[in-house]
Amino acid sequence: MFQPAKSIDDVIGQIADGCMLVVPREVSGVPMAATRALIRRGVKRLHLVALPTSSLQADLLIGAGCVETLETSAVSLGEFGPAPRFSAAATAAAIKIKDATCPALHAALQASEKGVPFMPLRGLIGSDILKYRDDWKIIDSPFGSDDPIVLLPAIKPDVALLHAPMADRLGNVWIGRQRELATMAHAAVKTVVTVEKIYDGNLLDDPTLAAGTLPGFYVESIVVAERGAWPLGLPDFYAADAEHLALYARMAATEAGFAEYLDKYVYEKRAA
């Protein structure tokens, strides 16, 4: 029987310094409680892969000094403006940024999912994104005639870190329509999931629930974290906390403000 872990700190032990960590996009259910725990633990030198974009999660990890390499197609706070710590790190060349475009990241994860070394993708030729990716190749399609096409090498993360509405005691995780979370779990060596609650039963028994379920076979560990995506939203369950995101955008605009944000909301220090 799969036992949910007792605390977030137990499960984030799977995420070692310097590992390649793949995380979901900002609207798919982002494991923010786990992210704050990682920052408190002082995780370092992450190769963070966002599938395919990120907002607060990447900005927080970058600002807190946890990221060495960022691989993504974009980081932004959406309607709350640019991601300030990401922008600052980029202009200071403080982190290595591997710029991509969304479907290239999906394709690279899908290559790992299929156990193949690469996946082709249309587009990209003539873009400076391709120019700066010496790990991406162009070949002449063997099935065409003078038909150049780009190949994305497989991305095989060490860990996939997810947040989902529920899991059962067999480790099955209900992900609903967020199908890229399954791809992340199939591609990564290990998958760690925080969930809102434990489902009392077997998610694979009910055909309606099973259709949206990631089998426990792919999951390393699970822990309950209520409101675990806060202040981002969890699709179909709760909306993002707009007031808090606006507050973050204001505070994180400066290094001093960001440090204050970390103290208050990540380290949860009490005012003297």
């Binding site: 599938l51 974009t53 197609s73 969304c102 479907p103 030729i125 003539g126 994104i129 967020q178």
Partner: protein, 249 residues
């Protein structure tokens, strides 16, 4: 006829809705509230056609295969219209969503290219939009090409830009070049020339962009605006006074 006053955003949405035309499927990506308004407006007018997929919406999004489905759908040739903007856009239709200055240590860093380096190639009608029309944004040559306006003939490409709409005017795009189509009410040709950093063609006589009709404005404000609030709550609040903004600008 009584003239109703309108905001820049409403004019742009109206122009873009016209450019959408009679198609089957319009998709709208991140950070695109004005195109989202236009797409939803086109659907209201078309009484349910076209299909509209707003990337981060749950209500206006029929995808069940996760974040990759929009791109797969486009690759199948099933997205007819998409929209792109950029920190910079140049006269060859290249868009820059990454940076100004040296790439490895830029002066300015934008969010990133999103899906542009793929969708620009496979969506037949990509409509460019830029609310700020200035020599800072419409440049002779972009610092970084997120997605090129055109490609050599041997590169597989079934799509690309068909036009650019700004707060001053509308351009069409063909054969690797922009051509001025119309100047918006309250703006002049001289102003367009002065504020555009790239060369473009112009017709012998330049027409004025038609203003949105009262019927269109009513539809936008009463029916479309509440639909927008799900994905663009700040925009819906600030432009159409729908809902409560979390903060004021």
């Amino acid at each position: 006829m009584m003239k109703t006053s309108f905001r820049d955003e409403e004019l742009l949405a109206d122009v873009i809705a016209r450019l959408i035309g009679d198609v089957r499927h319009v998709a709208v990506g991140n950070a695109s509230p004005i195109p989202a308004t236009a797409a939803l407006l086109a659907r209201e007018r078309g009484k349910g056609r076209p299909y509209v997929s707003l990337l981060q919406s749950r209500k206006h999004n029929f995808f069940t295969d996760g974040g990759r489905e929009l791109f797969d759908c486009a690759g199948q040739g099933r997205i007819d219209v998409f929209f792109l903007s950029g920190g910079q856009i140049d006269g060859q239709g290249n868009v820059n969503l990454v940076s100004i200055g040296e790439y490895e240590r830029p002066k300015v860093r934008f969010p990133g290219s999103f899906g542009s380096a793929y969708l620009y190639y496979v969506v037949p009608k990509v409509i460019l939009f830029r609310t700020e029309h200035s020599r800072r944004t419409l440049v002779p040559k972009v610092d970084f090409v997120s997605a090129p306006g055109t490609n050599d003939k041997n590169v597989f490409r079934t799509g690309g830009p068909i036009g650019l709409v700004t707060n001053r005017c509308a351009f069409t795009f063909a054969d690797g070049r922009f051509k001025l189509a119309s100047v918006h009410p309250g703006h002049t040709l001289e102003e367009v020339v002065e504020n555009t950093g790239f060369e473009f063609d112009r017709p012998r006589s330049v027409s004025e962009t038609p203003a949105p009709t009262p019927e269109t404005l009513k539809l936008m404000r009463e029916v479309v605006a509440p639909q927008l609030a799900e994905v663009y709550p700040q925009f819906a609040a600030q432009v159409f006074s729908v809902g409560q903004p979390a903060f004021s600008r």
